[in-house]
Symmetry: C2
Subunit: 416 residues, 2 copies
């Protein structure tokens, strides 16, 4: 037991020592040299084409057309079914992606560097709300936006970031928590704080006024812009926490729309999976739970570092948005998550809870002891391809993942 406590303290101290900095935006082929033509990275643990959910298949068809690997969506789907594309999880390539989480060679990826451990993590640029690829959208409007992100926006933001020393994210998150963000379903404050840092550099480095104005309007018009930055940050923080012998701390939680998977520090890169659950939430006008796809995306990396559902107490406004009860109840979610975590983050605090730190470092033993599964704030995609987001809600990580993980963890320590 002492070994485990020590290992978990080491895991927690690595999380708290991280210094994540947004440093660049580069094409995925540059960020991830192992990413080749006709390779498609997706959210969650590994999944084959025939087990993929509707929006995941829709996004894959869309991105294949976008990359020029198929003439149209139908062609793309039949090529996918015929095994012409190579599917892998983002997590296997230092990357994360929201919802369907498509990552392919030509897309621009945001780069977050963890300066304490010299590792980097990547995430695509947030496309905005509604009909977008991460929610399974794949029509001409969706592909045109991706082309603009690739050709104009990404290069402009990359140039702006490279002109300085990057944007440190730790303090920015701390401010965001005092401004009602939990960095999963609410990123309005952090998106604005990021814009404050980026805008002068964008203005100084841009040589095209229209691209500059459109880029500023794109960031300023998208309350969730920061989510993808928070995700890359989460990955950059958690990667150095992997492979600590004896640590029962969760290093990744992730879903592909079919399976939910977790990884635990002491058991290395093994995924422990179970079927995803259906979020309980609120639906946009015209949609109901009957339209909803089950839980999906790598975005649960933010809960893994104490944000999202774990920081609900910082964000009474999100409690209403995700249908989690009254605003004054928001703190209860955070208090519950403190029951399953190794500690608090003293730098990321919640004013309305008298500056309690966010619960940090999910311990699979505590999850099973308390029966409290991690709370996740999530967007909800339509189950059919091509439609997009239909709501937002709260979902639990399946207990089965933690049961499987604990067995393997015990075995890793020689316990049967």
């Amino acid at each position: 037991m002492e070994l485990i406590e020590k290992a978990n303290q080491e895991a927690l101290s690595r999380m708290l020592a991280a210094e994540p900095v947004l440093v660049d935006v580069v094409p995925a082929s540059v960020a991830i040299p192992a990413l080749k033509d006709r390779m498609i990275l997706h959210a969650g643990p590994p999944v084959a084409w025939d087990r993929m959910c509707g929006p995941m298949q829709g996004a894959i068809a869309g991105i294949a057309v976008f990359e020029g690997w198929a003439s149209d969506l139908e062609d793309a789907a039949s090529k996918a079914a015929a095994g012409e594309f190579d599917f892998h999880p983002n997590h296997h390539f230092d990357a994360v992606g929201p919802m369907t989480g498509m990552t392919t060679i030509s897309q621009p990826l945001m780069v977050v560097e963890n300066r304490t451990y010299n590792n980097r993590a990547y995430c695509a640029v947030n496309e905005g709300l509604g009909k977008v690829m991460r929610f399974g959208g794949n029509d001409a409007e969706v592909l045109a936006r991706l082309a603009w992100l690739r050709d104009d926006f990404g290069p402009a933001v990359g140039k702006a970031l490279r002109s300085g020393d990057g944007i440190p994210l730790k303090h920015l998150i701390a401010r965001g928590l005092t401004m009602g963000d939990e960095m999963h379903q609410r990123n309005v404050a952090c998106s604005g704080l990021l814009l404050r840092e980026l805008a002068p550099a964008l203005a100084r480095t841009s040589d095209d006024r229209e691209t500059l104005a459109t880029a500023l309007a794109f960031i300023g018009g998208n309350d969730q812009f920061f989510l993808n930055v928070a995700m890359a940050m989460g990955k950059a923080i958690m990667d150095p926490v992997r492979n600590i012998t004896g640590s029962s701390i969760v290093t990744a939680m992730s879903r592909n729309g079919t399976d939910f998977g977790i990884r635990v520090s002491g058991t290395g890169d093994t995924w422990f999976t179970a079927p995803v659950e259906m979020p309980k939430g609120l639906y946009f006008p015209g949609f109901t739970e009957a339209d909803a796809n089950p839980d999906m995306g790598d975005s649960t990396i933010v809960e893994t570092i104490g944000l999202g559902g774990f920081a609900m107490g910082a964000s009474p406004a999100v409690a209403g948005f995700v249908g989690a009860g009254t605003a004054s109840d928001a703190g209860n979610f955070t208090r519950a998550m403190a029951e399953i975590t190794a500690g608090e983050n003293p730098e990321w605090t919640i004013p309305a809870m008298d500056y309690q730190g966010v619960p940090t470092g999910i311990d699979i033993r505590l999850v099973l002891e308390t029966g409290l599964a991690p709370t996740i704030n999530t967007g909800i995609a339509h189950k059919q391809p091509g439609i997009g987001q239909v709501g937002a809600g709260v979902v639990r990580a399946p207990m089965k993942c933690f049961e499987k993980a604990l067995i393997a963890f015990a075995e890793s320590l020689g316990v049967k």
Copy 2:
């Protein structure tokens, strides 16, 4: 009594019906044609030179040098003492100004239009924190910043605003309240939201990249940038509430560093004054209450519309900053202010208080009945000219103002 209730309901409905929009930045001489050479508008009710506090005299000396009416600070002070400048309250010219509140012909003023009642109100541009003119600063650095605001920043922002239909403020304030701002001592969210709206227009209308980048950095680097917008908005909302026969609602609260003054709707433009009080607060390193100037500025217009100290419950982080107790106590201030107000603002709500609206429309009768004076969140200036801000705190409006006002109000209704 029925007359008073009806009049107060009319006052409240005018407040809630307001549609304030930030539309322009123009030189004060253009905004206020009655503002002439050697006229100096200041915060608070009328006050003569020899009764002015140190930072007010310091700011007047500085602005006189800035306008070229004096060769140096000493020359300016002796000219002021000799009666060469004409002093008036901002409030007499549709304007407001924070702390010392200097308004003179060449300064750029932000223009807020109340589109429901077609009136406009004005406020100078926020200079940032520390040694600035509104806190009595007056050296070369302070004057150089004012010159840049006049020559570069003001014209650029004015041009950007004129290129569109203005920036509606009501919804922006509503979002800011969900993000921890109370719009007096905390404006970090609204400053960012305003930047989101302004940045693309600035980029489209600027023809000088360096001015653009510097302007974006100036707004992005000043968490209190929005305060002056909120103040002009407050004035634009309250001016149409003046002169409703029988209304006991406060239309202005304001302080010149010597006297605190209030105006009440039913008694027109009469000021009811009493000596200002000393804020209770927290001081910046190296300063104590012995350095502090008593309460000052027109910024209390934000409390008059239900923000600032009245919206403390929205802003647990500000409770700590102004030394008002623990963060979880912040709601108590808002609950207390609900005892002295005519109603709630259903569009400006506080998530952490389960979307209670901010207490709106101070009724002088309720202030005297309950003995609860309005709570004001305020910055604290050094009492000597030339130094600047030394802290922030909470202060009460003097009860004496309300006593005097009630007597005059009763007389206005024929009651002795």
